[in-house]
């Protein structure tokens, strides 16, 4: 550092960064809509807010989706090497945006509760207080949830596209912080909801500290935090392996927390159960898809050269995740909690695609993420419909005989459960086949055997719910199935349609995933 230089000379040393805004347009659209949402919150009259917020959010998401479509085929590193816009990033961004549209529709549904949707009228009121009772039956709504959701979705778009660890950390926080708040905004059962927010926040902050320490050690190892820079260092440097492996391990803790892999899964059932169901739908799909996108980029781009070192670790984690998720889901008496453990098990199944460390593994993981995302989102959407006097009736026993009373909703839920179980002619089967065959080709046959056994165990609890719904007598005081409003119907129709179409006719999307499956290095 020479301090003798004059200011103009310094300015010449630091040229303005080149930022290709066209390549960043999906993120610009979503973050722009989020900021407009904040302004709407500040200036629009209360009555107009909910409608305006939804319109702004949907415009932003659809604009982002359009931008992703226009960018298809782009391979570009921009913003001084910090953002990589390539096939996997765009595929994950498109998936997150489409899931975001559906989740936003679920959030905006207000016909299911008198006065408002799943979101609290005024989050600052103490549960059970006179202030809260005064708001019952009014059409108040904490409309801040829409800009918060948009900021979270924006972070989810940036996370898989980050080409350096610092940006990845910032994106991780941008997607997490709004979600912590959104978890605490349920209209019913607010104690559970606030508890979910506290647990998610404390554990999330803890895990991101590990991610950050991993980043610092890798910076010490490679002298840079850019993923290609770390990859180059792993190929030339033979010393300081301790820093590399400790850093990689700590970084992995932060990423595995976000995809809720065992042993970092314990927050998942609590938070998924306590959060408002539309928010759970967004967390279980968008966050997981984005975090897998980031995990794939870290492992394939930065640590591709040392894959023989991390593959055994991910083997063990994949097996533990599948087994624990599937076995604990069997013991659950609550449908929402069961779906949470099912999402843990699915994280394990997708990890088998990551372990493959080949192009086919990447393509299979991308396809699986999209298929899993739509199926899970629609499954959580159906949970919002089955209600009793206390709100959503998620107790498993109260779902008995639901197929006799509302065959449409129970039939749709059965299709989604069969897809999650991986039965042929649904998207779940195609996705499982894609990741398992990729893992087997890459020499992980043992892992595939375990994965198939775990799929069979998982099929048991999915089928149990179907049997319960169709072959049991309905309870006399059982829950009723609400008529879904237009928004929920649209989201559910999208989820079920994608599930069926990708099962019957998967080849166009498989081909697209295969074309997309090449990271820019």
């Amino acid at each position: 550092m020479s301090t003798a230089q004059s200011l103009p000379a310094l300015a010449a040393d630091f040229p303005a960064p080149q930022i290709a805004y066209s390549a960043l347009s999906p993120m610009v659209a979503v973050f722009g809509a989020a900021l407009i949402g904040v302004l709407v919150e500040a200036f629009a009259p209360r009555r107009a807010r909910a409608g305006l917020q939804l319109a702004v959010a949907l415009l932003g998401l659809l604009g982002g989706l359009l931008a992703v479509g226009l960018l298809a085929g782009t391979r570009e590193v921009t913003a001084v090497g910090a953002v990589a816009v390539d096939g996997p990033a765009l595929f994950v961004q498109g998936t997150v945006l489409a899931l975001g549209v559906a989740a936003m529709l679920l959030l905006a549904e207000r016909s299911l509760e008198s006065g408002g949707g799943a979101i609290v009228a005024q989050a600052a009121t103490v549960p059970g207080s006179a202030d809260e009772r005064a708001l019952v039956g009014t059409d108040h709504l904490q409309t801040e949830v829409f800009p918060l959701a948009m900021l979270a979705i924006g972070g989810m778009l940036l996370f898989p596209a980050s080409n350096d660890l610092l940006l990845m950390f910032v994106a991780l926080e941008v997607l997490s912080l709004p979600l912590y708040l959104m978890c605490g905004l349920a209209r019913r059962r607010r104690l559970l909801s606030q508890e979910a927010a506290v647990k998610y926040f404390l554990l999330g902050a803890f895990s991101s500290a590990f991610f950050l320490y991993g980043l610092a050690l890798l910076y010490g190892y490679a002298g840079t935090v850019s993923l290609p820079g770390i990859a180059a260092a792993t190929q030339v440097t033979a010393s300081n392996d301790g820093l590399l492996y400790t850093g990689l391990g700590l970084l992995t803790v932060g990423l595995l927390f976000k995809i809720s892999a065992v042993p970092f899964h314990s927050w998942t059932p609590d938070v998924y159960q306590g959060a408002p169901t539309p928010v759970t739908a967004l967390m279980a799909t968008g966050t997981k898809v984005a975090a897998f996108g980031a995990l794939l980029r870290v492992y394939y781009v930065a640590f591709g050269a040392i894959r023989w070192d991390w593959r055994p670790l991910l083997w063990v984690i994949a097996i533990a995740t599948m087994a624990v998720g599937a076995l604990l889901a069997i013991t659950q008496r609550d449908v929402k909690r069961m779906l949470a453990y099912s999402s843990v098990a699915h994280a394990g199944f997708i990890l088998t695609g990551v372990v493959a460390a080949t192009r086919a593994g990447l393509a299979g993981s991308l396809f699986y993420l999209l298929a899993y995302g739509f199926t899970t989102l629609a499954a959580f959407g159906i949970l919002t419909l089955v209600r009793d006097a206390d709100g959503e009736a998620t107790d498993l026993s109260s779902w008995a005989g639901l197929g006799r009373r509302s065959p449409m909703v129970a039939g749709a839920f059965a299709i989604l459960l069969l897809a999650l179980a991986g039965i042929p002619l649904t998207s779940g089967f195609t996705g499982k086949f894609a990741v398992f065959s990729a893992a087997a080709d890459a020499g992980a046959a043992g892992l595939v055997v375990v994965a198939v056994v775990c799929s069979a165990i998982a099929a048991f609890f999915y089928v149990r719910v179907i049997v319960l719904m169709f072959f049991n007598e309905p309870a006399a005081d059982g829950p009723t199935v609400a008529i879904p409003g237009a928004f929920t119907s649209a989201a559910l129709a999208l989820g079920v349609a994608v599930t069926v179409v990708l099962g019957v006719f998967p080849s166009p999307l498989l081909k697209l995933a295969d074309q997309a499956a090449l990271f820019i290095r």
């Binding site: 606030q194 950050l212 320490y213 910076y219 840079t224 609590d270």
Partner: protein
């Protein structure tokens, strides 16, 4: 003085923070332990910036501070909300969701 001592110190601070996170019961103190972990990371980053002779580590430390500040805003909001509901900030009292 060798810069490696700062790395040892930051590792110790990080461990103290992690241990405090697992052992303390008050949500605010638990959260302070996370902040201690983040500051330990900052010390690591600055030390590596010195060892490597690049500025990146010092710049990253600024980003970490900004993110930590944002996290405080969200975290204290959540902790205050649950304190108002339960008149307690103990993490042992948030036990309705389990199994």
């Amino acid at each position: 003085m060798s810069p490696a001592y700062y790395l040892y110190l930051s590792a110790i601070l990080f461990t103290v923070g992690a241990a405090g996170f697992l052992l303390r019961r008050n949500a605010v103190v638990v959260f302070m332990c996370v902040e201690l972990m983040l500051n330990a990371v900052n010390l690591t980053l600055v030390t590596f910036a010195r060892i490597n002779g690049t500025l990146d580590g010092q710049i990253i430390a600024f980003f970490v501070m900004v993110v930590a500040a944002a996290e405080v805003v969200v975290g204290l909001a959540i902790i205050v909300t649950i304190f108002r509901t339960r008149q307690s900030a103990s993490v042992d009292d948030v036990n309705l969701l389990k199994y």
